[in-house]
Symmetry: C3
Subunit: 269 residues, 3 copies
C-alpha cells in the first residue's frame, strides 16, 4: 500500500518551497502519496500548528506520516525529531509543535503507544544540508525514507522528553465561570477558543451557560448555526469540540473585533 | 482504474478543513485520487460555485465525482444530495449549487441522463456527524464510498426536484441591446459576465456589437488580448464562452471599479 | 513508472483555471502524477518564474515534465515550445521563462544535453483551442501526451533559439564592490538578490564582506538566522545559494521598505 505523507508548514504557497519538499520526497520514494494540510500556519506560530495536529492525526489513516515544519529555530541547536504516537508518525523540529500529540498518546493509550527519536542519522538526509531549509534537506527526505521502508529506530537514538508548546489553558474564575481565550480565527472569521466540551462539562449543565467574547454576549451554547437568524451572534462547539464564537453567515472576528488572545468567558447562569 | 474525486469549497486553505476531507476520503477509499478545484469560493456564494461547475465537469474524465461544499445551511433542514448528470457524479447540499449542471443534463442529453438521490443512508457517513462540518462527516465519506464501489441508488431515495440557484439571466432591452452583469471577477481582475456567446448570437452579428461595463465602453468584441495595446480595455469571450471585460496585462476590476453585480450592456451598433 | 508533471502558473487558485489543467491532463493520461509548484507567480512576471525554475528542476526526479504558464502574449504570435534540458522536460510559451534552464543545460552538460521543439502538431492539443487559455488547451494536453508516450520530436519541428528573459545581472563597482538587486521577496519577507555565492567568491574572502540593502547595513554574511538576536537584520545565502537579506523571525521587506528592484550591494571590507 502507498505510504501517505502529509505536510504542514508556515511556508505559504507563493514560493516554491513546499513544492521542493514534494520533489525531494518523490525523488526518494516515488510511490509515496502526499497531502498538503496547510502552508498558511502564521509564520513561526508553533501553538497554532500544535493545536491543529490532533484533528489531522485523527482523520487520516493509521500509519500516515505527518511532517510539520514551523521552525523558527532552523539552523540553531534545536533538535529534530521523529515520533510514533497513537498509530501515526510525526516528523519535524522539537519545539513544542508535537506536544499535544505526545501528551494525548500518553494519556489515551498508555506509554507503550508512543516513542520518539532524535534525527541524527545523516544518511537519511540530502547530501548537502542548508542552514535555512531543513524542511527540504532533512524532514522531507526522512519522511520519504520512512515511507519507503526505513524504521523509526534507524533514524536516530531514542528521546523521551519533548519540548512543551505554550498552549494557553482555560482557568476557573469562581464557582460559576471559566475564562479562556481565542486561539484560532478561521477563514470564516469564526473564533475558536481553548475551551473544550470536556472543560465545560466539569463546570455544570451546558444548557444553563452563557458565552461572552470580547465585549459581547454570544448567548447560550447552540447546536447549529441555523438556530439563530442571519447575522446574529452565536456560540457552539466546533467540529473538534472546542467552543466557538461565530456570526451566522458572517465574520465574527471582523464584526466584533476579536482576534487570537481575545478573552472568552463562559458563565453558568 | 482509480476513481477521481474533486473538491470545491468555500473553506479556504488556511485551516485544515479541506485536508480533513482528504484524510476521511483516504481512510475509506485509499486508492481514490483527489483533485482540489478551488477552496476560495467566496464564503457562502452559491451562485459562484454553480457557475463554475459546468466547466469543471466538462474538462474532467467521465465518471469523476465532484464534491461541492458551499453550505450556508449546514446543520439546518437543508437536504443533502448526490446526483449523476451528463456522465459525472456530484455530491453536496441541495441549495442551488447543482442547478446549472442539472438543467444542462436535461437539456442536452434527455432526462435519462440525470438522476439524483437524497443522502439519508447514514451507514455511508462518519459514525459521529457534527452540526457544522458535513463536508468532513457526510459529503467526503459518501464520495469515498461511491469511489470504492457503492452505487448511487444505495445512498438514499430518489429525488427529482433540486433547488434552483439565483443565477441572474441577461435581459433584452429594446431590439438592439442586451443587459447583463458581472458574475465573476477572476484572479487577473477580468470581469466575466452572465452573457454567453449564444445569448449574443441571438441579438445579431457579433462584429457589429459594442460592449459597455460600468461607465466605460470596452469596444467591439475581440478575439484575443493581443488585439489591443498594453493597458487598453477590451471585451472578448472567455475560455468558457462568456463575455468578459478585461484590460490587457492589467486588472480591469480595480482599474474601472467593476465588481460582481456591475452592469454589462451589449449594443448592436 | 508514473510520469510526473508539475504546474507553475500566475493563475492564482481562486478560480478553477488550474484545476481545469488537472482535468485535461487526467482525461488524456490518467496515470500521470501532478504536483503544483505555485500558481502565485506575480501576474505576467516572467523573470520571477524563470528564476524559480532551476531549483524546481534540480529537486524533482529526472524525466519530470515541468509546465510553466506565465503567458502575457497568449493569443498573439508568440511561439509555444517544449524542451528537454538537463534530463527534465519543460513546456510553455517561448517568452524567456525557460532561458536560465536553457543556458545552464548548455553550460553544465554540453550542447548534447538540450533540445527544443516548437509546438505545432495540433493533434496533441484539445480539439477546440481558445484564444485566451493555452494552459488548458495546448500546454496541459501536450504534457499529458508526453507523459503517456509521445516523443519530444513528435510535438513539432526543432528550434535552437529561445527568447532570453530580462533577468538582471549583478555588476562590479570598483575593485571591492558588487551591485545587485532584490529579485524575489518571499512569503516571509526575506529579500533574495540576484547575487550568487559564486559571484561573491570572485570578489574575495566571504568573511570580509558587508552587505547593504536599501538604506541599511545587513552586516557580514552569516551562516544561519540563529546567529543574530530576534528582530535583528542579517544577510546569508538562501537555500539556492543566492544572497538574501532577512530579519530574524521578522519580515525584512516590510520592516525596511525593500521590494523587487531594491539595490543590494556587497562591499569587501
Amino acid at each position: 500500500m502507498q505510504a501517505l505523507i502529509t505536510l504542514t508548514t508556515d511556508f505559504g504557497t507563493r514560493d516554491a518551497y513546499v513544492a521542493l519538499m514534494h520533489g525531494v520526497i518523490l525523488s526518494i520514494c516515488r510511490e509515496a502519496r502526499i497531502v498538503d494540510i496547510t502552508h498558511a500556519v502564521p509564520p513561526q506560530d508553533i501553538v497554532s500548528a500544535a493545536v491543529m495536529l490532533p484533528a489531522v492525526a485523527r482523520y487520516f489513516p493509521p500509519g500516515s506520516i505527518h511532517v510539520v515544519v514551523v521552525d523558527p529555530g532552523v539552523g540553531s541547536e534545536r533538535r529534530a525529531v521523529a515520533l510514533e504516537a497513537g498509530g501515526s508518525y510525526f516528523i519535524g523540529p522539537d519545539n513544542g509543535v508535537f506536544s499535544l500529540i505526545w501528551e494525548q498518546a500518553d494519556f489515551s493509550q498508555g506509554s507503550g503507544s508512543r516513542r520518539a527519536v532524535a534525527l541524527t542519522e545523516s544518511r537519511f538526509w540530502l547530501p548537502d544540508v542548508s542552514r535555512t531549509f531543513h524542511g527540504r534537506d532533512i524532514f522531507a527526505p526522512v519522511a520519504a525514507h520512512l515511507a519507503c521502508g526505513a524504521k523509526l529506530a534507524d533514524l536516530g537514538p531514542p528521546v523521551t522528553d519533548l519540548l512543551p508548546a505554550p498552549v494557553p489553558r482555560p482557568v476557573r474564575s469562581g464557582a460559576t465561570s471559566l475564562d479562556g481565550e481565542v486561539i484560532i480565527v478561521d477563514h470564516f472569521g469564526n473564533c475558536i477558543s481553548n475551551i473544550s466540551h470536556d472543560d465545560l462539562a466539569q463546570l455544570g449543565t451546558l444548557a444553563e451557560m452563557e458565552v461572552f467574547a470580547g465585549e459581547q454576549s454570544f448567548g447560550p451554547i447552540r447546536r447549529t448555526y441555523a438556530e439563530v437568524a442571519l447575522g446574529e451572534r452565536l456560540a457552539l462547539f466546533d467540529s473538534n469540540n472546542r467552543l466557538e464564537c461565530a456570526r451566522r453567515n458572517g465574520n465574527a472576528a471582523a464584526s466584533f473585533d476579536l482576534r487570537v488572545g481575545s478573552p472568552v468567558r463562559v458563565r453558568h447562569r
